[in-house]
């Protein structure tokens, strides 16, 4: 397993080109091309602004403008959910490669994760611009934590993606289950409501065991809320757990590897 992990480094060139291809192919043929990566979050922001200021105004103190607060959590969430959805089907979609070419299969789910990470990065400038417009500039010291959060999420997502990709080859219905689980997960994470809202507090334990809670809170603290970033202990714990998850996911993937070419 460790030697396989080492060869993964050798394939970084391949991963790089595949991610680039994925990004190019996604917008190929559309008029606006890469601008969609900016326009999508912009439209999302417009919709949420309208809903949460006009239709169901949310007046929780300290989280205004509410739409911007939500966006800070939704963008990383989109990365996670899109990456997991794509990764779970990646081995089946890339069946031709696995069956016919000597090809390190783990590259496929990893490419799904990385391609969606790039989309996340492309959407970030929109958030930053609006944070300045609304005069909530993020703190420079806080921003130093940003790469750490991204790294933790990357390791966490990759571990899950590997396990899901490997299992989906054998259990095709994971893809359908996953869509529903992700919906449940989204609503049970403080993304569209702040974690300190009083209705949330009684369920604190439930929220604390949800790994994405800590990622969401970290993003929100760094980008949206002023003041020092004080969720780092949880983040560090999650980081350690994510490495464990990654190793477990990779181990599972490695164990099932030989069956892919036959079952896909």
């Amino acid at each position: 397993m460790l030697s396989n992990l080492a060869t993964l480094v050798r394939y970084r060139g391949l991963i790089q080109s595949l991610v680039a291809r994925e990004l190019k192919a996604r917008y190929r043929g559309s008029v606006l091309g890469f601008f969609w990566s900016f326009i999508n979050p912009l439209l999302l922001l417009a919709i949420y602004s309208f809903i949460f200021t006009r239709i169901m105004p949310n007046r929780v103190e300290g989280v205004q403008p509410y739409a911007l607060f939500m966006l800070c959590g939704i963008l990383p969430w989109t990365w996670l959910s899109a990456a997991l959805t794509e990764a779970s089907g990646s081995l089946i979609a890339g069946g031709n490669l696995i069956k016919k070419v000597l090809f390190p299969a783990e590259v496929l789910p990893i490419v799904s994760v990385l391609a969606n990470m790039v989309h996340f990065f492309l959407a970030l400038p929109i958030v930053i611009v609006f944070l300045f417009l609304y005069q909530r500039p993020p703190d420079a010291w806080d921003l130093a934590w940003f790469p750490v959060v991204v790294l933790v999420q990357l390791v966490f997502t990759t571990g899950l993606a590997l396990a899901l990709a490997a299992l989906t080859v054998h259990f095709r219905d994971i893809r359908d289950i996953l869509a529903n689980l992700l919906m449940l997960w989204f609503f049970s994470t403080p993304i569209i409501y702040p974690w300190f809202q009083k209705e949330v507090l009684p369920y604190k334990l439930f929220f604390d065991v949800n790994p994405f809670t800590h990622l969401a809170i970290s993003y929100q603290e760094i980008l949206f809320f002023p003041g020092p970033f004080d969720h780092w202990r949880w983040l560090a714990a999650l980081g350690v757990a994510s490495v464990g998850l990654f190793l477990a996911g990779y181990w599972l993937f490695d164990r099932l590897r030989d069956s892919f070419a036959e079952v896909v």
Partner: protein, 460 residues
């Protein structure tokens, strides 16, 4: 010298995952059977105890019927699957021409796909840049290289895939039946490229159904049958052994076809014969059971409306029809130019003085290649009593390759059928020359001094 490819006692057992392919995760969880479900339910041996090794620089051919394990062997060498037992060792960079253009993304241009495909096959960016023009030129796609691959024709797609794979500069090249891509010109170019790689001392493993290619190109060959190595060594010998075995199975299949056809008519025919024992009872033009082509010369006129069948009054009955080869042995497969004989066993239930024996040959399109009978050839019948044998012998079966059917009949001089067997007997003609047409006239070519051909000794 250490071999470039070395398979030792390799067995590959494919697992058939039974109903588990679409089993649900939920049921697996409920029954706590995830681990059990991930273990195979049924197994299928694709290769059994296969051992072979290819020294560096040699070209090795693998032949065999469909499903004999050829592609599995190739995938094992390529490292795509792992052997269940035994060892596979390959030295040097492998390029597998197994699935051409696997991994092309339809939305992006040929140029970008070439880069990504070559990276997948193990080239670095710099190496690709250096070879890019060669690749495009080889694929003959200079004008289309910047168009998205989804706009390519399947031939263009394959050519590009082939061009990339062949320019990876492999030490070991694995080829799985890919020479069928592209037009004649491209096929020649591919063969030239193979020859060039051979000259450069590359090891080539070739899986193909084209036996001629194996004989021409390979230094050694292996014949796989149902996952086992049946023969290996000199390509000509292996190909011959394979062809002999193929003929044997074909003989059996054709024998079965013929037996079925005869058996199918027997039940119908006996019913007809029962009602038609008296000659007067059967008018010459008979409806229903006797199709209009029952007329003796009909075999030449109704070649487009041929149906299998048997009819006639059975006063004289053909009890057995056997095709014989040159050694007077029953056979169903003949080589073009071989002698062939059709032996009829006939029984006259009453002494007869008016009889004609006829034979005609039809090809798979239902075209009559040849038909004759004793009446046409002006033999005047005198008497036929009890059991007898009639043999129609052909000195040289000058037909092109294909499957043929045979009509045999005995009838009166004016066409009243005693026993007519229409298209009941099937045989196959094999030929090393893929010429076309209905028959092969004896022929030869002569050339004046200005005309010369390459590879003189190869041509017969």
């Amino acid at each position: 010298m250490t071999p470039a490819i070395d398979l030792r006692d390799v067995t590959k057992i494919y697992r058939r995952y039974g109903g588990r392919q679409f089993a649900t995760l939920k049921s697996a969880l409920l029954q706590r059977s995830i681990l059990r479900d991930l273990s195979p339910t049924e197994t299928f041996p694709a290769l059994q105890n296969v051992t072979f090794s290819v020294p560096p620089g040699r070209t090795f051919g693998v032949i065999g019927r469909n499903g004999s394990g050829k592609s599995t062997a190739l995938k094992l060498v390529a490292g795509i699957t792992k052997p269940t037992s035994g060892t596979v060792a390959v030295r040097g960079r492998i390029s597998a021409l197994i699935e051409l253009g696997a991994g092309f993304h339809p939305e992006i241009s040929g140029r970008e796909n070439v880069f990504i495909n070559a990276v997948m096959l193990g080239l670095s960016k710099r190496e690709i840049t250096r070879r890019f023009d060669d690749i495009v030129e080889f694929a003959e796609l200079q004008n289309f290289i910047d168009a998205p691959v989804k706009t390519y024709s399947s031939g263009m797609y394959m050519r590009l895939g082939f061009a990339v794979a062949i320019h990876v500069d492999p030490d070991v090249l694995l080829v799985d039946e890919v020479l069928a891509v592209g037009d004649e010109g491209f096929t020649h170019k591919c063969l030239d490229k193979f020859a060039e790689l051979r000259r450069l001392g590359k090891t080539i493993l070739l899986v193909t159904h084209s036996l001629g290619l194996v004989e021409r190109f390979c230094d050694e060959a292996l014949w796989l049958d149902e996952g086992r190595a049946r023969a290996s060594g000199d390509p000509r010998r292996v190909v011959d052994a394979y062809l002999t075995a193929v003929e044997k199975t074909e003989q059996q299949q054709l024998a079965a076809t013929t037996a079925r056809a005869v058996a199918a008519t027997r039940s119908v025919a006996s019913a007809v014969a029962g009602g038609a024992s008296a000659r007067e009872a059967v008018p010459l033009v008979v409806p229903a059971a006797e199709p209009p082509e029952a007329k003796p010369d009909g075999e030449l006129q109704d070649m487009f409306r041929v149906v299998e069948g048997r009819w006639g009054s059975r006063e004289i009955e053909i009890t057995e029809v056997t095709l014989l080869d040159g050694g007077q042995q029953p056979a169903f497969v003949f080589h073009s130019g071989d002698p062939m004989a059709v032996r009829l066993k006939v029984t006259a239930h009453a002494p007869a003085t008016d009889f004609v024996f006829g034979v005609s040959l039809f090809n798979a399109d239902g075209v009559c290649c040849y038909g004759t009978n004793t009446f046409i050839e002006q033999m005047d019948p005198q008497s036929l009593n009890g059991d007898a044998e009639v043999t129609f012998a052909v000195d040289s079966l000058d037909l092109v390759e294909g499957t043929y059917k045979l009509d045999v009949a005995v009838h009166t001089c004016d066409g009243y059928p005693y026993d007519y067997h229409r298209l009941l007997y099937t045989f196959r003609v094999k030929s090393r020359t893929p010429d076309v047409g209905i028959y092969r006239p004896r022929h030869s070519w002569t050339f004046s001094a200005g005309v010369r051909f390459k590879g003189g000794p190869e041509r017969k």
